[in-house]
Structure formats: structure tokens, C-alpha cells
């Protein structure tokens, strides 16, 4: 009997256990790691046993005389391999947390992490939209708590709020979509809805697909919702690593993949691709300009997610999923490297890090692997993923993508060359949790490419190593070379400044300011409404006191003995009852 709920339960139990036990009895991280390992074990077991089939387990949640609401879990190749990915990355990051969060409050951190991981695991194996939404919201809320983990810092608290409120726009769109679908189909089951989308009137297909797209865009930090993601870097680095690789942001793309038949039926592919291209462009411009390493990686996350959206927009689901897996691995690798540097040198600024002389330390090779994966260079896993997700691109999209490849390589290797340009005299401390977690991710990033050829047995996937892929790689290598020349050799200063000015002109705060001014407009509207309401209130107050003065009893109410009143009421009540009793 394969109970899919076993994938979720370990993390729930872990959260409860950590919350109940103190730190003294057993280390919190041991419980969390054990939970994640158990989840990984169950995910692998179910993937192996259910492989190639699809099973759904339903539970009745609410039963009415006029209908019922059920929730279900679905196990198939897609959901279970996603569960494997989530639990694996979570496990690695939890191991890294032992190193990174050593001096921080343990209990709160591991409880919140466990709830977060549980929600994400629940999300990927949900078989009903309602349950998907439940976990989707829990992911949002626990990320809000994790981003604002260092709540004493104004910026961290603000970042948590921003993440919650912006992603909640998408949540509400999602809720609206599932209500619309429920009212038509009478069920939340994803399988039943997707198998009968043709029943849906075309305007409802369009509306619900668009709402789901909004949900996906906001969770995946795509234009126009991306502004929460860079700020979310205020959270502890393992949190960033988890949120921005396999989990939270990936949930948006995963939602669209899961509901692809509906999205595909709505013919909004070109909209998705356009929004994704805008996001990629913004990410590049911001990434080139930024000096905070975590924020650079954050912008690259926006870009990587936009690749997945481009693949989805071009109906290439296999490619999107393969890149989602690839991205999860190398992005968490990059964050862990950044986190390790922050622990060693207490800074995230790439120019500060330059002065700390990182070149030649054990972090250098993982960093190369991470940034090369970001740029999609061979022989790393990411190169193969590029060949897969660009399969469905049109001529125009390919051409734009060649430029994107160049700039991606440029800004990622800018960060690398700046940080590692000075050689170090001595190596850094090799803490096992850090070393282990970073190297295991590095190894997968190197050899994972071969998975592409076996992945087709899991998910229907197409790929081709055509001339465009070749041009892409060349373009990326040119980008790496420019990065090397600009930031390692400090050559071609004129070109570098020209580029920097262009990025400067884009001015990263403009859009952010627009978002804020929308928020402020609402506040102003609220103040106006409150003023109106106060006016209404005083009007009524005047009316009320007027009517009281007209009545002669007003003085008694103000001065009267309360006891007398109470006794009168009480005796009246008793009298009524006793009269009644007598009459009966």
C-alpha cells in the first residue's frame, strides 16, 4: 500500500517534534535532516514503484447534502520526480544550514524550514487544485516568515512583507481561477479538469488560464511582479538557496506545467514568452549593475525562471521541467557558495570579496561550476538543459536568445572574475557540512547532463543540438571572454563604462518606485475613506446624542444606580418565567 502522504508527513512530524522538544535533548537540525531524508526515501521509493503509472488517492474533506469537496494526492512520474528533487535539495540545504545557522536561533529556524519543505512537498504531489492552493499558500506564508527571519532588521521585516503581499496578488488570482473551475466542473481534481477542458467555454478557458498565469508569474518573480525577489535576499542564505532554487519560485513554473493543457488551450503562449523576455532583459540589466552577490544570483533566478516560462510559452513542457531540475541544482550551489563566503568574510559585496583574496580557495571550483551553469556552458548539466528548453523556439526567439546568452555569461562571469581575481595565500577552513553540501551539488551539476538522455523515460522531452545551440554557446563564451577582459584584466575600459552607463540609465529603482506608488495610492485612498468614515461616525453620534436628550430618561441612564437596573432586568426575567410556570 503506497500512501503518498508519507512524503509529506516526515517534515510535519519534524516540525512538531522540534517545536515541542528543546534544544538540549536533541539538536534541532538532526530532526529536520532526518525528516528530509525520510521524505527523500519515500519519494524515491514511490517513484520506483509507481514508475510509468499514475495513482491518485482521494480524501473527502467536506461533505454536504448538496455536494462534497475532496482533496487528493497524485503520484506519477512528474509529481514524484519533483518530490525527489525538492526533498533532495532541501536535505542538502539543511545540511549546509548546520554550518551557516550555527550561531542563530535554532528552534524557530528549523521549525519554519520544516513547515516550508512540507508545504512544498505537498504542493508537488497535490492532485487537487484546492490542496495545491492550500500548500501554495503555506509556502507563501512560511517564506514570509523565513525571509523576515532576522525581524529586528527593518529591511528584513519589510522584505518579508513585500514578498507576502506581492505573491498574494497571485494567490488571489489562483483562488479565483480554481473557484471558476470548480463552479463549472464541480470538482477540484486536476485530472478530471484537464481531461475535460473542452467542456469549458472559451472565455472561461482564457480567464482561468490568465489568472493561473498571474499566479505563476507572481510566485516565480516574473515581470511585472519580480520586485519582491531581490529584496527577499534579506533572509538567511540557506533560505534564499531553498526558496530560489527548487521550491518557492519553481512552484510558479510547476503550476503552469501541471495545468499545461488548460494553459495551452487558452492560446496565451506568446504573452508568456513576451513577459518572460521582458523579465530576462530586466534581470540582465539589473544583474550587470549589481554588486551584492546574493542579489546578482537573485536576478539570475528571475532570468532562469524566465527561460522556463519561455519553454512553457513555446509548448515545450519537457524542456521546462528539465531546466527546472537543472536550475534547482546549480542555483542552490551558487547560493551555498555565496553563503559560505559570507560566513568566512562577513560580506556579500563582490568588490569587498575581491579584497579578501578568494582566488585559489576551495570555493573557486564550485563557483566556476555554478556560474558556468548559469551561462549554459558545456559540459555542464545546464548546457544540455539549454538544448532542451530552446527546442521549440522560433527564429526570432532564437535570435533574441543568442543575445541573452551573451549577457548572461557576461554578468555571471563578471561576478566570478571580480570575486576571484586575487590569489589567496592560504586556503579556507573546510567545514564538513559546507564542504559536503557544496561538492555534492557541484558533482551533479557536472555530470547531470547525461540525465537528459534518460529523462525522456520520465517525461516526454525533446532536444536537439542544432546550429542555434552552437551559436548560443559561442555567444556565451564571447560573454565570458568580455567578462574576463573587463573585470579580470581590466581592459577595454571605454566599452565597460558605456555598458555600465546603459545599465545605470535603466535605473533599477524606477519600476520599484512605481510599485511603491501604487501601494501608496491605496494608503491614500484608505486615509480618504477613513476620513469619510469618521465624518459619517460623527454625524451618527450627533444624531444619537440628540435622540437621547429628547428622551426624559437620559439623566437616569447617566446617573442611575446600575444595580437597580440589573436587579430590575433580572427580576423581570424571573417574573416572566414564574408567571409562565404558574400559568402552565
Amino acid at each position: 500500500m503506497s500512501m503518498l502522504v508519507f512524503i509529506i508527513l516526515p517534515m510535519l512530524i519534524a516540525a512538531a517534534t522540534i517545536a515541542m522538544l528543546g534544544e538540549k535533548l536533541i539538536k534541532s537540525y538532526l530532526i529536520a535532516i532526518a525528516g528530509a531524508a525520510a521524505s527523500l526515501g519515500f519519494s524515491l521509493y514511490f517513484l520506483a514503484t509507481i514508475f510509468g503509472r499514475s495513482i491518485t488517492q482521494s480524501y473527502v474533506w467536506m461533505q454536504f447534502s448538496f455536494g462534497r469537496i475532496s482533496v487528493s494526492l497524485t503520484g506519477n512520474n512528474l509529481t514524484l520526480s519533483a518530490a525527489v528533487l525538492v526533498s533532495f535539495v532541501s536535505l542538502v540545504i539543511l545540511i549546509f544550514s548546520v554550518f551557516y545557522m550555527d550561531k542563530e536561533p535554532q528552534k524557530r529556524y528549523y521549525v519554519e524550514m520544516s513547515i516550508f519543505i512540507m508545504s512544498m512537498l505537498g504542493l508537488v504531489i497535490s492532485g487537487s487544485l484546492l490542496l495545491f492552493y492550500v500548500f501554495w499558500e503555506l509556502v507563501g506564508v512560511s517564506s514570509y516568515l523565513l525571509i523576515g527571519f532576522w525581524y529586528k532588521k527593518e529591511s528584513a521585516a519589510a522584505a518579508g512583507n513585500k514578498a507576502l503581499i506581492i505573491t498574494r496578488i497571485g494567490d488571489m488570482a489562483f483562488l479565483a481561477a480554481i473557484i471558476i473551475l470548480f463552479s463549472v466542473f464541480g470538482t477540484f481534481s486536476i485530472n478530471s479538469i484537464l481531461s475535460s477542458t473542452s467542456v469549458l467555454p472559451s472565455y472561461l478557458v482564457f480567464i482561468s488560464a490568465s489568472l493561473i498565469l498571474i499566479a505563476g508569474l507572481s510566485k516565480s518573480a516574473q515581470f511585472p511582479f519580480y520586485t519582491w525577489l531581490p529584496d527577499a535576499m534579506e533572509g538567511p542564505t540557506p533560505v534564499s538557496a531553498l526558496l530560489h532554487s527548487a521550491t518557492m519560485v519553481a512552484a510558479g513554473a510547476y503550476l503552469l506545467v501541471r495545468l499545461y493543457p488548460l494553459i495551452g488551450a487558452a492560446n496565451i503562449g506568446s504573452v508568456i514568452v513576451t513577459l518572460a523576455l521582458i523579465s530576462a532583459l530586466i534581470a540582465i540589466l539589473l544583474g550587470i549593475y549589481e554588486t551584492h552577490i546574493k542579489r546578482i544570483i537573485a536576478y539570475s533566478t528571475i532570468e532562469s525562471l524566465s527561460f522556463m516560462f519561455m519553454a512553457i510559452g513555446t509548448a515545450n513542457i519537457g524542456g521546462a521541467i528539465f531546466y527546472l531540475f537543472t536550475h534547482a541544482i546549480f542555483k542552490s550551489l551558487l547560493f551555498l557558495v555565496a553563503g559560505a563566503m559570507a560566513i568566512f568574510f562577513e560580506t556579500y559585496d563582490i568588490y569587498d570579496l575581491k579584497n579578501k583574496k578568494l582566488g585559489g580557495t576551495w570555493l573557486e571550483i564550485p563557483a566556476v561550476i555554478g556560474f558556468a551553469s548559469l551561462a549554459g556552458l558545456p559540459p555542464f548539466m545546464s548546457f544540455f538543459a539549454h538544448a532542451a528548453f530552446s527546442y521549440g523556439f522560433s527564429m526570432l526567439e532564437e535570435t533574441i536568445f543568442i543575445a541573452i546568452s551573451f549577457f548572461t555569461a557576461l554578468y555571471s562571469f563578471r561576478a566570478f572574475f571580480v570575486m576571484f581575481s586575487r590569489r589567496s595565500q592560504k586556503n579556507l577552513r573546510k567545514s564538513f557540512p559546507a564542504y559536503f553540501s557544496i561538492y555534492i551539488l557541484s558533482i551533479i551539476s557536472i555530470i547531470g547532463g547525461s540525465l537528459l538522455f534518460t529523462f525522456s523515460s520520465i517525461i516526454n522531452i525533446h532536444y536537439s543540438f542544432n546550429v542555434f545551440v552552437f551559436i548560443d554557446v559561442v555567444s556565451a563564451f564571447v560573454g565570458v571572454y568580455f567578462g574576463y577582459a573587463f573585470f579580470y584584466k581590466s581592459e577595454m575600459a571605454g566599452l565597460r563604462y558605456a555598458m555600465r552607463n546603459a545599465a545605470d540609465r535603466f535605473n533599477r529603482y524606477k519600476y520599484d518606485r512605481l510599485v511603491y506608488s501604487i501601494g501608496r495610492a491605496f494608503v491614500r485612498l484608505g486615509v480618504a475613506a477613513a476620513r469619510f468614515d469618521d465624518g459619517l461616525s460623527s454625524f451618527y453620534s450627533a444624531l444619537a446624542s440628540g435622540s437621547i436628550f429628547l428622551s426624559s430618561s437620559s439623566k437616569k441612564i447617566q446617573n442611575g444606580d446600575a444595580h437597580t437596573y440589573m436587579i430590575a432586568i433580572f427580576i423581570g426575567l424571573l417574573a416572566l418565567i414564574s408567571i409562565a410556570a404558574v400559568l402552565v
Partner: protein, 472 residues
Amino acid sequence: MSISLFLFLVIPAIGIIWLYINSLIKPRLDERKIVLSAVAATVATFLVGLITGFSGFSISLVSSIDFSFSLGLNSISIPFMLLAVIVPAIGLNSAFKEIKQNATLFYVLFLLIYMSLILLFVSTNLISLFVVWEVTLISVFFMIAFWGEEETRHKASIKFLVFTQFGSFTLLAGFILMFLYTGSFNLFVIRTMIGSVPAWVSYTIFGLVLMTALIKMPIFPLHSWLPDAHTSAPTTGSVILAGLLLKMGGYVLLLFGLELLPNVASIIQVPALILGVFTLLYVSLVASAQKDFKRLVAYSSIFYMALVFIGIFSINGYGESGAVFLMVSHGFIVSMLFVLAGILKEKTGTRDIDKLGGLAKNMPFYAFFLMFAMLATIGVPGMSNFIGEALVFIGGYMTYAFVLFSLAGVLIATNYYISAIKRILFTSLKKELQKVRDISVYDILQLSFFSMFILVLGIVPGILLNSFSVTL
């Protein structure tokens, strides 16, 4: 052996008499012990009754016209009874801390309200229903007028009295009309006879009941008594006000509006839904400009009552079930928030959000519960409000798609709640708040009770949903 509903009159009444006797004799017993034992006995009776079942009770005064005091369950009694029995009982802890003067009188009032609220939801006769309805309102008026905040209580209590008495007047007028045209005060008799009354009478009755509901719930533009009443009421008063008094409006609307006259309800469905959505968006905007945390909570409770209103006027199973569920869920959550607002004042001396900051450092337990209540109120899944909200939205959308605009209100609510939380709990601790201590064990216990109900209802909503049925 089933529990007679009469016990819910007897037990609190014994408590009241005991309190009076206690005030005359010496040495005096602590009033708190008396009220606690009366409340505990009531809760125990209720719990036993849930297992063994409840039996009705009736005393007829004029039997020919059913002028009687009769108690019995109707199809939606149990959820409201749960609210009426449990919420004031948990709220009692706030009274224990807060009430220093005239304790005997306060607890007499408390028990009187407690008794009449429970009886209200099990009255099957218009006479008994109206009597307990009035007793509740007058007692709450006294509670605000005597134990409210010094500066504002006079104005607020008068406003409360005028508004709610007007609501009682319309309700009474509705009851008289029902009696005149059906010849009975009995709820069940009226239900069978109501089909034969002239159309204009049913419209008038519905209009009068609707008026009462608009005032009590409250719905724009008749809501303005509520923020004032809450701001000046003692914490226990707020708990009773928001946890139960507002629900009386929803209850009579369901019982006499929707179940009795569904055809009239469907005629005014569209304007009612528009009014509901408007109220919801309006109060969420007003709430976002509030500086007083308690006032903010007060406005947000109007928000949820507007959602209940939408659910009721969806006139379908999902909407009605959602409305009832949301009323119960919101009863727990808003009471918890008012208790938390009370603690805020007690510990820091202010509820002004601008004067607070960084309390999570000194008050981790308080921060946990405030965060919990906040997440519950904005409808995070796993907690009870989500179920109610989702059902109301489903029901509302099934009738008119524009109801989904109220989702924007949820968004605004999220925004003002999280920014209030940030300013109260997060960032660095203000200098003048350095000495603030965390909440006591009793407070933790009290808040845990609320949290428990919120979680249980959110995870296993079936236990509540199965306890009532909407007749549609």
C-alpha cells in the same frame, strides 16, 4: 439521557444569585471563583449535551397563541451555541485581569449576557427570542457604559444603544407582523404558515429583519456604532461584541430572512450582494488607515461580516454553509485578536501602532500568538477562516461572478495586517518598551484555547459542517 436546554437558563441564574448573596455576606468569596464555576458548569453541560443530545423545554403563557418561553434546537443552532458557550468562557481570563471596580456587578452582567446569548440561539419562540435579545443588548450597553475607557465610553455607549435599539425595534415590528399574519409566535408554526401571507407582508417582514441585520452585522452605512463601541469597550466586552453580538445579525437574517422567505431574498439578491462587496472593500480601505490596533481589528471584523452577508445572499448551499462556518470561525479569531489587543494595552500602555515596535524580542509568546491570529484572519489555509472564505467565494461566484472582486479586499486586509504586525512586533525594540514583559501562563492558556479551535476547525471542518444543515 439528553440535556435539557433549560439548564442553560438555570446554571447561569444560580451563578447570578450566588454572586448577589456573596455580595451581602462576609467573608466574601472571590467573585471570580463563582463566575468561573458557573461558566465551567455551563461548558460541561454543553459538552455532555453534544454527546447525549439536547431536549427542548417550554412554558406556555397564553397557549392559544403560543405566547410562550420555549427552547429547542433548530437546524443552525449548534454552531452558534458552540460560539456562545465557548467564546465568552475563554474570554473570561481578560475580565479577571481587567475588572477591578464593581466586580460583582460586572460578573452579574457577564453571566446575564452569557445566559441570554445561549438561550437566543435555542429559542424557538419569538417571545423568548426577543426577551433574551433585549437582555443581551442592554447588558452590553451597561458593560461599555460603566467599564469602558474613561474618555469615550459615554458617547460610544449611547451610540451603541441608539443603533441597536433601533435594530431591536425593527425586529420586534417584524415579529409582530409575523404574529398578526400567521397567528403564532412559534417558529415552526410560522415556518409552515408563512407561505400564505400576502406578498406585501412578506416583503415588509423581510425588510424589517434585513434592517436589523444591517445594523447588527453591521453593513455600510449602518456600521459606525461598531468601531466606537469596540474602542471604548473593555476586552471582555469586545470579545462578546465581535464574537457574538455581530453574529446575532447573521443568525436572524438566516433564520427569518433566508429560511423563512427565500423568494423575497432572491428578489433583492443583486443589490444585497453589491452592498456586501462594497462594504467589504470600503471597510478594508478604512481599516488600512487606522492607527489604533483595536480599531483596526474592529474594522476588519466588519469585513468578515460583509463576507458573511455575501455568503447568505448567495442563496445556495455553499454560500450559506460558508456564512455559518465563517461566523463561527471569525468568532474565535476576532475574539483572540481582541484579547491580544487588550494584552497590548495592558503590557505597553498603548495600542497606537506608531508608538510600538520590536515587541517580538521581549514577548516571544505574545508575538507567536499575534502572528498566528493574524495569519488565521487573513485566511491562511489550515486555519478556520480559510474554509469559510473559500465556501463563501464559491457560493458567491456561482450566483454572480462579480463577487470575486471581494478577493481584492482580502489582499488589502493582508496588507494592513502584515504592516501592523511589522510595526508592533518587528524592527528594533523601542527604548520606552525595554521593560515590557511577556504574557503570563494564564494568557498563554487562554490564547492556546482559541488557537486550538481555529486549527481544529481549519483542518477538520467536517465536525462543524455536519452539525448544521442549511435548508435550500
